[in-house]
Amino acid sequence: MNTPLQTPAVPTAEAIRRFVDTRIQPQAVQMDQDQEIPRALFTEMAAQGLMGLAVPAKYGGTAADYATLGAIHEELGRGYASVQNACTVFGMVCKPLSRFGTEAQKAKWLPAIAAGEVIPAIAITEPGVGSDIAKLETEAVKEEEHIILNGRKKYITLGQVADLFLVFARLNGRGVAVLVERGTPGLRVEPLHGLMGLRANMLAELSFEDCCVPAENMVGKVGFGFTHVANYALDEGRYTTACGSVGLAQACLELSFHYAAARSQFGEQLRKHQLVQKMLSEMITETKAARELCAAAGRLREQGDPAAITETLVAKYHASKTAVLAADHALQIHGAAGCLNGNPVERCYRDAKIMEIIEGTSQMHELQIARTFRL
């Protein structure tokens, strides 16, 4: 793929806010109902610099600093969580590829991803293995200059449309990460429909049956797959998911403010009722707290402080719970109106719960936070 290298400007949160308000939010209901993000929107997002946020400038990316990255993901989460999560996936592929990929891999894929010409996906989860990645069953065998993959992956975000998969497998018992292009013989992609929330994530199940790729497609050394590459990806994904969750909570808050001002019961606006005020106050406080935790994690990440890993876990844990709380209160404030399909609050309620599951469940976060504190 011959993509001319450009160095686009890093998008600002203000520019992305406008883009979200005009191009993402108005389409959110439709994307949720269609269970699809239109390819044209990916192209528009690439033009905004959103596909290259985790790609170094020398490969045509925008390489946003962590404060900017967080602010942008908050805006995307406010607009539509599925679009925000798609950008998380881009980061989860590009960040480890930038760090552990060969020069040839980086030169071939990163500019095309940043330009929106190639949609990537990360394939970790399997039908029998979710959180416990050290137990992955997909097998890789090295034969001369090739790697042969056999196994299955499930719940792969963007899997339906991805052009490139970063696949995790086990080679002689050790973790490996391998790039597999769509259309490779032996790779079958089956769409998964009917997700409760983040319905436009375009999930797929992947089957590898003697799927043969060049050995040069391996990202990092044998044995680095889980400890290095996957952890790099998941750590990046946790940060942007935390920030996206703050945006989702903010959306619930804004919708609730508007509704509570517009609707009256018992002769006064909902916002004047003390029990509604209690819910709004909780939403305000928890959203601000989650945003501060994300900012703290972002500062440490920018400094390269190893404490950033734990702070990111804490931020994602709290922010995803905040999104659930805010969506629950928003639905309560909206009453029956919020329960109707097509109402943004109904979508936020479904989307919020997924934030507690993706990039590590809340329970896995509790365990990992405890482990890093040697509890």
């Binding site: 990092g220 952890n231 390269g304 190893p306 404490a307 950033a308 990992q368």
Partner: protein
């Protein structure tokens, strides 16, 4: 940065990251069971940012960097070869 400063920074990072009170120069952090699943990315982050160097892939094998001494040798080798960024 001289040898003692590097050693002090490495020891300080390891005791903080691995939540252990004391660590001698040749204590094997793998055998002591201190390493958690996120340690490697913390370690990479620490070395590259603190000492302004970029590690090669071969150097990121946990089996070769399991003591304070291993890490100090690795960092000093980079400094001597001028590999620091």
């Amino acid at each position: 940065m001289n040898h003692e400063e590097i050693k002090e920074k490495v020891t300080s990072f390891l005791t903080r990251s691995l939540r252990t009170k004391e660590l001698h120069e040749d204590d094997n952090i793998l055998e002591l069971g201190l390493v958690h699943s996120l340690f490697m990315i913390q370690l990479i982050m620490f070395i590259e940012k603190t000492f302004h160097l970029e590690l090669e892939e071969e150097e990121l094998d946990m089996d070769n960097i399991k003591t304070v001494r291993d890490l100090v040798v690795l960092i000093e080798r980079h400094q001597q070869t001028g590999a620091a960024l």
